[in-house]
Amino acid sequence: MAVLVVAAHDGATVKESTGKVVAAAQKIGGDIDILVAGDNAGGAAASAAKIAGVRKVLHADGMGKQLAEAMEALIVPLAANYDAILFAADTTGKNVAPRIAAKLDVMQVSGLIDVLGPKTFIRPIYAGNALTTVESSDPKIVATVQPTAFKTVGEGGSAAVETISAPGGALKAAFVGEEIAKSDRPELAGAKRVVSGGRALGSDEKFKAVIEPLADQLGAAVGASRAAVDAGYAPNDYQVGQTGKVVAPELYIAIGISGAIQHLAGMKDSKVIVAINKDEEAPIFQIADYGLVGDLFTLVPELRAELEKAGV
């Protein structure tokens, strides 16, 4: 058995999610290799090599922004060496993995949250309101892994890094540009604490004035409901939920969020959930460990003052 884990990275280092996908790979069993594809991603390849229990790292430079068309050309020829190919269920993994699966004539397992055997997995359906246990009859496994469901594999390895060449040939897709917000806050998907705001914030000014200072005081990432994003209070990549990001921090604070099932799908596995909402019947209170009923515009400043008193 051999498993290929396709790394998520920023060029300099692999993201924590890669260690979590390696944890899923360990449950499948066999040798584990990591593929680091990108541009000037030597640093990321070196950090992948340190993950415990990895056999080798394949490093392909000249892969630009990991466009799906290029990734398909790189990974499909490697597939012969592997029984399973795993990606993190982030936007890159979701974009690339199904192309590989289709080329290999494999039905992909999306967003798996547990591995019961080399071909048996649990994955959420219906916004996480049901869990399905599936057994694949395909010769190979192609899957995306929900990183929040696994404990990361730490450092301690010293795998060899093998350079492989990027595929040649023209692509029918080209990268034009990107708008990636630079932030000193932790990344939402892997954050230990998350403060999220909903439609109740009312404007982007108020979102910034109320949610962000609380997040910064707690060293938390900022999240949002779909309604807040749609209304332009927060950027799209803040959206937590069924069709946004799935988070499972130690502390999740939902402020002015009603708790629609699509939102809950993205945060219900958080360790401790706090809800602040003026409607005591809001569904968010059904899953919150601690609920505070009242107007967020008075309660959040009070909370900040109390945190300060407590030395936070």
Binding site: T133, D289, G291, E306
Partner: protein, 249 residues
């Protein structure tokens, strides 16, 4: 140019699913079924392209049971020109749907296929990418904004961390994200008109596709229930609980 829009019939997004007590699946009996919301966004985008004069014909396709006709009718009422129902009872996995769609693309010759990014029942997020791979076409997934020219399409995509723009040669595959547009409601006259628009009925075999699932469902269960906690009266009490009871500060 012709556009193909695959639309899936799913449990209405407002409804909560019930898991069957024998763990064989979810119970959909007597529940309202609707068009998958991301597919509505796909239909809307195609209709807007037609209104702009970029697109000449919109074909809505659904793979599913007889009742998926209703989903196609909804697309026709929104502005699609004709429909194709590929009739299959039981679940059809994204890989098989992609293979069927490939057959339809080869028969119809569209320049664009606009799909939803994700069906809200299986939450797979696969079909568009798979279709792109099977056809050897480029893909613009999770589209936030589209700009279609005669030989290429520029797609702004929602990605982790922000937005990414790619340029794709036509023909191409697009999958829609939530903020691409706000789908219209069909007007009564358009609903009446849609009743006269043609729907072809096909079978997977017409495209040489075997829809036998590759993933065998061993069981479907309810997720562990999270217990609601307590209401606290003040911010001070909250901080105390977080610090001394939950230990997360």
């Amino acid at each position: 140019m012709k556009v193909l829009v695959p639309v899936k019939r799913v449990l209405d997004y407002n409804l909560k699913v019930k898991v069957k007590s024998d763990q064989s699946g979810v119970d959909l009996s007597n529940l309202k079924m609707s068009m998958n919301p991301f597919c509505e966004i796909a239909v809307e985008e195609a209709v807007r392209l037609k209104e702009k004069g970029v697109v000449t014909e919109i074909i809505a396709v659904s793979v599913g049971p007889e009742q998926a006709q209703e989903t196609i009718r909804t697309a026709l009422a929104m502005g699609a020109d004709r429909g194709i129902l590929v009739k299959v009872d039981g679940d059809v996995e994204p890989l098989a749907v992609a293979k069927i769609l490939k057959g339809i693309v080869e028969a119809e010759g569209p320049q664009l296929v606009i799909l939803g990014k994700q069906a809200i029942d299986d939450d797979s997020n696969q079909t568009g990418q798979m279709l792109a791979a099977l056809l050897g076409w480029p893909q613009g997934t999770f589209a936030f904004k589209l700009d279609v020219a005669s030989d290429k399409v520029t797609v702004v995509r929602e990605v982790d961390g922000g937005l990414q723009t790619v340029a794709l040669e036509l023909p191409a595959i697009i999958t829609t994200d939530l903020r691409l547009n706000e789908p219209r409601y069909a007007s009564l006259p358009n609903i009446m008109k849609a009743k006269k628009k043609p729907i072809d009925v096909k079978a997977p075999g017409d495209y040489g596709v075997d829809t036998t699932p590759r993933l065998k469902v061993l069981k479907v269960t309810e997720p562990p229930k999270r217990q609601g906690g307590v209401k606290v009266k003040t911010a001070a009490e909250l901080v105390d609980k977080l610090k001394n009871e939950a230990g997360v500060l």
